[in-house]
Symmetry: C2
Subunit: 108 residues, 2 copies
DNA sequence: TTGACATATAAAGATTTCTTGATACATTGA
DNA sequence: TCAATGTATCAAGAAATCTTTATATGTCAA
């Protein structure tokens, strides 16, 4: 996703689709709580299952949603799988919202 | 929404709910395209209907979603209703993502 | 190799969201 | 007041999303 003015990005179907997917990944309470836990550093799925008292397959579903959006990455270590936030994509979102905000502050 | 560390915010049910709603509002392509148009300044619904070639009731539906989330505000002027972005809420989102990003960059 | 454990995937139903077409509401000008 | 216009709301169906239960996959230890 190039560093374009947001007004231009929001006219490019590809960027619009990508942004919609990113925001969708963040639009669910369970997923936001997962993000909250991952702020403490990489976490094993088992830790998250305990901390969020969500069923195992439910957690797996949401972890996949976050992963498909690129917000987290996973790493297998033996039987365990660890998930971690992907700062790059967070930076992307921040830049986008930041530019939108700047333009809006000027014009609105 | 207080200026808390994101890890703490994401443990507060109210904040989690609010954030999920904000992100949901941004998770639809039609709504993102509306935001793109509003970056050109306040717009009449009729302008948006033309620019996005979306049906009138469909547009109304999405404008309501953006308004309910607090991302835009509306102003009636005679028969016309104008919508504009709300920079404050954009700033809120930016701050949130920014803090998440910072923490993530350190720990991940 | 087998059994146990951690996680992922699949299938089905429940719920939510989106789209469309019809209708209601508000404002203006005649 | 009435007709025309711009916008909002409603109702119904379509589509997407989420939850749950069951099953599959992968890894380790015995």
């Amino acid at each position: 996703m190039a560093a374009l003015l947001p007004a231009r990005m929001l006219e490019r179907p590809r960027d619009v689709t990508r942004l919609a997917r990113l925001f969708h990944a963040l639009s669910d309470e369970t997923r936001l709580r997962i993000v909250g836990k991952l702020l403490g550093g990489e976490q094993c799925v088992c830790t998250l299952t305990d901390a969020l008292d969500a069923g195992q397959s439910r957690l797996s579903f949401h972890l996949k949603a976050l992963k498909d959006a690129g917000l987290v990455s996973d790493r297998r270590e033996g039987r365990w799988v660890h998930y971690a936030l992907n700062p790059d994509v967070l930076q992307e979102i921040k830049s986008f919202i930041g530019s939108v905000r700047e333009v809006a502050a000027r014009c609105c």
